[in-house]
């Protein structure tokens, strides 16, 4: 082999090793590390986003639960209030109904009385009309039939009473 000198070879070896090391440092610092940091940052970001999303989800679930509870509570309370209001309303309604019934009864009574009164009045009126008619007829008949003798008798009767009264 021509040209191989041990010292040269060793020198070359050392130079090469140094070269490799320098190469390594350059590539790692300028190319590898930045990209790796980049990728790690992205992974972290994704993980954080996922954990954030998970936290958000759990928070949302918690909130939903709480809302559910509140809703239950409010529903219970509202139904309670509702029943009380209902009771009150019912009581008032009953009272009103009783009063109305009483009122109606009174009115009915009054109406009945009025009706009776009216009925009586009508009967009386009819009776009056009938009797009036009867008496008119009687008067007309009597006007025809009454004689002077009747007059005389009346006069005599009067004077008898008259003189008895004194």
């Amino acid at each position: 082999m021509e040209g191989l000198v041990i010292s040269d070879a060793v020198k070359d070896l050392i130079i090469n090793i140094i070269d490799i090391i320098i190469l390594f440092v350059i590539v790692r610092a300028l190319a590898y590390k930045p990209v790796k940091k980049f990728l790690d940052a992205r992974k972290e970001r994704i993980a954080k986003e996922l954990s954030d999303a998970a936290a958000l989800k759990s928070e949302a679930e918690e909130k939903a639960q709480e809302y559910g509870r509140l809703e239950e509570e409010s529903r219970a309370k509202s139904s309670e209030m509702l029943s009380e209001a209902e009771r009150n309303a019912r009581k008032a309604a009953d009272e009103i109904i009783a009063a109305a019934k009483q009122n109606a009864a009174q009115i009915g009574e009054k109406a009945r009385e009025e009706a009776i009164k009216e009925h009586d009045a009508q009967i009386a009126s009819v009776k009056e009309d009938i009797t009036g008619l009867a008496f008119d007829i009687s008067k007309q008949v009597l006007a025809r039939e009454v004689t002077d003798e009747d007059n005389r008798r009346i006069a005599d009767a009067f004077f008898e009473k008259y003189s008895a009264a004194e």
Binding site: A124, K127, E128, S138, D148
Partner: protein, 82 residues
């Protein structure tokens, strides 16, 4: 002298009228008698002596009867409420 007004129907004769007047004269003495004819009283007579009225007319008796039957005055009924 007292004034007496006798109201009678036309079916009363003069005789009966004289009888009435005499009857009154016996009771109250001298009086002036006036006769009013009213057929509306139908029969009998109404005598008014110085404001005092003695009603022996048939019409009045009938009215009295009518009033008794109907229980109330014919006049003054409240109108029918129909």
């Amino acid at each position: 002298m007292k004034k007496v007004v006798i109201t009678a129907a036309s079916n009363m004769s003069e005789e009966t009228y004289r009888r009435i007047c005499d009857g009154f004269s016996q009771k109250i003495g001298q009086a002036e008698f006036v006769r009013v004819t009213d057929d509306g009283i139908i029969g009998g007579f109404i005598a008014e002596i110085d404001g005092e009225i003695y009603d022996m007319s048939i019409a009045s008796q009938l009215d009295r009867m009518q009033r008794e039957i109907t229980g109330n005055g014919g006049v003054g009924n409240a109108g029918n409420t129909n």
